[in-house]
Subunit: 116 residues, 3 copies
């Protein structure tokens, strides 16, 4: 039996899953959807910090990130929040593509895989 | 040389790849495309059960899932099938975003990473 | 502290990340955006070869690939380049979905996870 820990689960998903040396985060969107792209991104990134800390990891150990934004014309605003937050010496592999998300006012969603 | 097993390969991809302690499934869509979002999702999830069993894993060991649906307004129907199927005590990290898929009547596609 | 190597980093991301036995590539798009879907795909795949070699891996060890294309009607052109390139006996789990990408003339973006 594998040793898998799951945290912050709702009816559908766990926002934090830990398996061995690897940490998985997904389903991360901003609670305050009145914020713009930059504000929503910053809120999610602060939440990623907390979740990674809970798993004994940190932003400096992120391996890969997938970022979905609802409007590619706002990518620069997402990137502003990202660059202000990211550890410039330890940047993950990252994809950012456009997609419609779970609710119309959700502007960005992030999925992350990190090492412990 | 790494020890990688690949199963259910066609000309382009393998639907099941096993590497060490981790199982990768992708390219999973419904064969019966006359079904609605809920039906297609249920068909894919049943197929995931079979593929995971083949690799010595199960839905209780899924680490992360990415779900693409063609119309976000039908997310509730996908979720209905998902919630009926998922192991409520062992939910994966999960992202669900909208995307056009390989054929017009393909309504949902799922990608999964699981532990053995 | 985990042992993570990061290469080809810009301000936002690393195009190659190595952690233990696993290699992560992302943010891969064609430099020559005048090429069509097939040409851009071939350019990215050649780059993947180089990056994987740098990490002591190869296309025969790819575990999973996510391919985003801007127009699903051009999927056959992407697949032509893919099939010509891929190791037919060692095909990864693969998803291909439609998404708008970072610039209007970027037609395809690829993300890869491989074993070393």
């Amino acid at each position: 039996m594998s040793d898998i820990q799951r945290y912050h689960s709702d009816q559908r998903l766990s926002r934090l899953v830990v398996h061995g040396n690897t940490v998985y985060l997904a389903g991360l969107t901003a609670d305050d959807r009145k914020k713009d792209m930059k504000g929503q991104t910053a809120e999610i990134l602060a939440r990623i910090d907390k979740l990674l800390a809970e798993a004994g990891s940190s932003k400096s150990k992120i391996l890969t990130a997938t970022i979905w934004i609802t409007d590619m014309r706002d990518k620069a605003k997402m990137d502003e929040a990202w660059i202000a937050w990211a550890d410039a010496k330890n940047l993950p592999a990252r994809a950012c593509v456009e997609a419609r998300l779970g609710s119309p006012d959700t502007l960005v969603e992030i999925m992350v895989q990190a090492a412990k």
